[in-house]
């Protein structure tokens, strides 16, 4: 069984799956468009939640939200199913493939055998598309991979029922209805407004204020936790920031690409200028990652090094605050 699905590589898994599934269903929408309309740019700091023994920092909204928001704003219908029994999950997927429906799945990363060993962690918010089945394997289109790949029946079952935070519980989703004409302009404006609201939220752990909060904490890390732990926290932060499927700098570049595309569709030249500003902010995030990596590579014990990168982070927060205020004005 094989559906005539075309694989396109993407920078982020959820955008990629959404974009690929919609393209398959005749709606040509790019990855940056999905990311922008679905309001994928986000920041939240959860100091009380520990991931890999370090405070959790997320640069993205909850898994599934990007696609859900996109669907809402474009008037698409997506069917989402979770399963309590593994047998039913397999049956539902096979049924879909028989009916020529490539299906998106939320999976855990740890048992994805085609990933390099170093990337296999208990992270459950990865997304991929299954587009076919053979005697022994499922045919997989993982959007962060260059080419399509395969997993054995048993392996796919394992990743679908990975356990821990955000356990996917076999979650499967696919578009069931796509309107003839979608209101792209309205959806773009809604997506931008949502992102501005998130990033400028009057909450200490979210958006720009969340970034400032982290900067403040970074100064305290080496004093409060010792250099070793502080270095570990910092390394974790950079991993969450720049690794496959998540993003600090990377996300800014996707967002800038979205603004560029949006400026053409909305015929708003201001968005093009803002796109360039976003690119500059993305570069700052990358500089931050470089500086941070120097600290934990040299096992630097200087407290001052932490203050320097905290300042750098504060500068980013200031720039982003100005940026999102301008963006809010630009689409009024």
């Amino acid at each position: 069984m094989e559906t005539n699905f075309t694989h396109h590589q993407s920078a982020h898994c959820e955008n990629g799956v959404a974009s690929n599934l919609l393209k398959h269903n005749g709606l040509n929408i790019s990855e940056p468009m999905v990311f922008g309309i679905g309001s994928g740019l986000f920041f939240v700091y959860l100091p009380f939640l520990k991931v890999n023994y370090a405070p959790a920092i997320s640069y993205r909204p909850m898994p599934g939200q990007i696609f859900n928001k996109l669907a809402n704003r474009l008037g698409l219908k997506i069917k989402r199913q979770k399963f309590s029994s593994e047998a039913n999950a397999i049956k539902a997927l096979d049924e879909n493939l028989k009916n020529n429906i490539p299906s998106g799945l939320q999976v855990g990363v740890y048992n994805l055998t085609y990933f390099p060993d170093e990337y296999r962690f208990h992270f459950n918010a990865h997304n991929l598309v299954v587009y076919g089945k053979t005697e022994t394997d499922y045919l997989i289109s993982d959007p962060v991979m260059e080419n399509v790949t395969t997993l054995t029946h048993d392996e796919l079952n394992k990743v679908r029922f990975a356990k821990g935070a955000f356990a996917p519980r076999g979650q499967m989703y696919y578009p069931i209805q796509i309107p003839q004409n979608v209101d792209l302009k309205g959806a773009i404006v809604k997506g931008i407004k949502n992102t501005c609201r998130d990033m400028l939220a009057p909450m200490p752990i979210i958006g720009v204020r969340g970034i400032r909060f982290v900067a403040k904490q970074i100064r305290k890390w080496p004093v409060k936790n010792g250099t070793k732990k502080a270095n570990h926290y910092l390394a974790q932060m950079v991993r969450m920031q720049e690794e496959i499927g998540t993003g600090g700098g990377g996300f800014r570049f996707i967002y800038a690409a979205f603004l560029e595309e949006a400026s053409v569709i909305l015929e708003n030249s201001e968005l093009k200028i803002l796109s360039q500003e976003m690119t500059a902010i993305g570069d700052l995030w990358r500089d931050f990652a470089v500086e941070a990596s120097r600290i934990y590579k040299n096992r630097s014990t200087k407290e001052d090094a932490y203050n320097t990168i905290a300042d750098e982070l504060l500068a980013i927060a200031d720039k982003e605050e100005v940026f999102f205020k301008k963006l809010k004005q630009a689409i009024r």
């Binding site: 990337y119 208990h122 390394a235 990596s293």
Partner: protein
């Protein structure tokens, strides 16, 4: 980031011949996509985490050897889990899993419970029971 600045460092991805897709601007300042083999700051961050885990595994091994903890703790570290993740895999409360870390309690565990752990770690019950720290 400009297209020509897209990092092409050697790292964990290039070892497996994988490339990731990134967005970057071309010479006219318009966005396009490019492939990257890896980026040093990322590789360092990842290496840091892997080292951290290796250290935890070594400590756990030592503790099993000194009969301070049960092999469950060691295999948990090897599988890159923490207590929360492990408890979720075996479907037990965290305090129960923690209790099973005690060598004395571990020695009295039934095969049904050991099987749950073994399956979560992708090993056989025998491997779990007869774990030897060489």
């Amino acid at each position: 980031m400009k297209q020509e600045e897209v990092p092409q460092d050697k790292g964990n991805l290039s070892n497996k011949n994988m490339k990731e897709l990134v967005y970057a601007t071309d010479e006219k300042g318009n966005y396009t996509t490019a492939l990257s083999t890896g980026w040093e700051p990322k590789t360092i961050a990842l290496t840091n985490s892997i080292d951290e885990i290796s250290e935890r595994i070594a400590i756990a091994k030592e503790q099993v050897k000194n009969n301070e903890v049960s092999p469950i703790c060691y295999f948990m570290e090897v599988s890159r889990m923490d207590i929360g993740v492990l408890a979720s895999y075996v479907g037990m409360w965290q305090w129960r899993v923690k209790r099973h870390f005690k060598p004395k309690v571990f020695a009295g565990l039934s095969d049904t419970i050991l099987k749950k752990y073994a399956e979560s770690f992708n090993i056989s019950i025998e491997e779990l029971k007869n774990f030897k720290t060489k």
